[in-house]
């Protein structure tokens, strides 16, 4: 259950967002991807999940369901929380045959409990706060027991306690069901607690690859700048990076 990425290139209107990058996500590992806003982190996740096509290189993903937690939740706004979370179970044949309505109800309740929002099945997405929507979208992603989970900033906008709950759960998913995960985040706390390995993107290239401890040791000018948030450093924020 690995993801192998070789010489991946992605262009948006002649601009190279990802320039010939290669990396691997090992079985059961949580790989964190960091980098500035606009450095192509979400683009990597969209490429892995097959939502967009690469302009060069290849992505090899072993067989298995891929789930994704979107940066802006992407809940179906015409459906309530219950229907959102159970969506795949209702819409896909293989699950429809497998589970009875009672089982689905139970599974949804369990998933909501895990993300710390029990009993909100009847609510609609617009009645929830941004952080709550994020957690519902996590619940929707995990209900099918996917082999791969792609998290796009799962803890952004959450309070510290809710973040910890989600972090714990990300850890548990990788340990218990051996899910292989790619985790895009800006939060050092999340990286420290969850990630086995970290890669950092800048200008379409990987400028750092290592463990979270290496990241904090700050012997790489890029990571030092990222961790301390300094304006001076090798990375320049220009208009084109937005």
């Amino acid at each position: 259950m690995t993801i192998k990425i070789n010489n991946l290139t992605k262009l948006y209107d002649d601009r190279k967002v990802l320039d010939d990058i290669s990396f691997e996500v090992k079985d059961g590992e949580v790989l964190a991807v960091i980098g500035f806003s606009g450095s192509g982190k979400s683009t990597i996740l969209k490429l892995i999940s097959g939502l967009i096509e690469a302009d060069g290189g290849e992505i090899k993903v072993d067989d298995g369901d891929i789930a994704m937690v979107f940066q802006y939740s992407a809940l179906f706004d015409s459906l309530n929380v219950f229907d959102n979370i159970s969506f795949a179970l209702h819409e896909r044949k293989e699950f429809r045959k497998k589970y009875t309505p009672e089982q689905i109800k139970f599974m949804v309740a369990k998933c909501l409990e895990i993300v710390g929002l029990p009993g909100i099945e009847e609510k609609f997405p617009h009645e929830l706060s941004g952080g709550m929507q994020k957690r519902v979208s996590l619940a929707r992603a995990i209900i099918t027991n996917p082999k791969y989970i792609l998290y796009d900033e799962p803890t952004a906008g959450l309070d510290p306690i809710a973040s910890t709950v989600i972090e714990n759960y990300i850890l548990r998913l990788s340990q218990d069901i051996h899910a292989t995960s790619v985790l895009v985040t800006h939060q050092m706390s999340t990286i420290k607690r969850c990630a086995n390995r970290v890669i950092m993107l800048y200008n379409g290239k990987i400028v750092f690859e290592g463990t979270p401890d290496d990241l904090i040791k700050q012997d790489n000018p890029y990571t030092r700048q990222f961790v301390t948030g300094a304006i001076d450093g090798p990375m320049k924020i220009t208009a084109s990076s937005f």
């Binding site: 369901d65 802006y72 992407a74 706004d77 795949a88 896909r92 929707r140």
Partner: protein
């Protein structure tokens, strides 16, 4: 780039052709996308891969929500036709043909095309903006990651709803139109009686016309749903993109049903 090239790129001719080619490309892309989505939808429809509950839900929206507007528009058109022609026909001694004329225009053209326009402005635009919003807020991507085909989930129920419900709408609208046309004709001239009007309507109705009208209505309904959904699906770049997609959906739906209407007229009546 050579100097000549740079100067050439500044010329109005170059810009004009560049814009023209861009527009043509967009046009062909839109047509191609609609055709592809139609094929994919047909695949799901003929293999019965759709949820009946969804189809019923969309049908309710399609027919019931739009009915007041549709009836108003068709009835008003009938009234207008009646006001314009009834006095003339009476003057020329053709009072026995008023009903025939109203019924013919209603059944053959106005009932269907006016209902189509009403449905586009109410339902087509709603379909488009709904799907466009889903597109720009990543909900379509979420569908795809969950391995549910957006065509199957969004397009098929809407297209079926349109195809099934449109004939009913047209029948109701045409009947209402004929009745209102009659009331108006009776008001414009006391020489026209109800009996005379409805006898004449009876002479103007042909089973063949009605069959063609029902078939045409079905095509309109399906086409409106398909074109609106497809234009909505193309949306990008946030709220502005939703607006653009909705406008495009309305314009393209109008053009599409007029073309379909033309084909019907050519094929069946020419």
């Amino acid at each position: 780039m050579s100097k000549f090239n740079i100067i050439f790129r500044e010329t109005a001719t170059y810009r004009f052709y560049k814009l023209f080619i861009k527009q043509m490309r967009e046009f062909l892309e839109t047509v191609g996308n609609i055709a592809l989505r139609l094929l994919e939808s047909l695949k799901y429809i003929f293999t019965l891969q759709f949820k009946l509950s969804e189809v019923i839900e969309q049908s309710k929206r399609f027919a019931i929500d739009s009915l007041p507007i549709t009836l108003t528009i068709v009835a008003m058109t009938a009234v207008i036709v009646s006001i314009q022609v009834a006095p003339e026909l009476v003057k020329q001694g053709g009072k026995d043909y008023i009903g025939l004329l109203v019924a013919l225009t209603m059944v053959r053209e106005i009932g269907t095309i006016m209902s189509g326009f009403a449905i586009i402005s109410m339902i087509g635009s709603a379909f488009a903006s709904e799907i466009a919003t889903m597109k720009v807020t990543d909900q379509i991507d979420a569908l795809r990651v969950l391995q549910v085909s957006p065509i199957k989930y969004l397009f098929v129920p809407r297209i079926l709803a349109g195809t099934i419900m449109m004939p009913f709408i047209v029948v109701i609208a045409s009947v209402v139109g004929i009745i209102f046309g009659g009331l108006t004709a009776q008001m414009t001239s006391h020489e026209v009686s109800g009996l005379c009007y409805y006898t004449s309507v009876w002479h103007g109705l042909y089973v063949r016309d009605i069959n063609i009208a029902l078939f045409k209505a079905s095509c309109f309904g399906g086409a409106i749903a398909l074109v609106s959904s497809s234009c909505g699906y193309e949306a990008k770049n946030g709220a502005k993109g939703v607006g653009l997609a909705t406008t495009k959906a309305v314009v393209w739906s109008f053009v599409t049903i007029v073309i379909i209407d033309y084909c019907f007229a050519l094929f069946f009546y020419f």
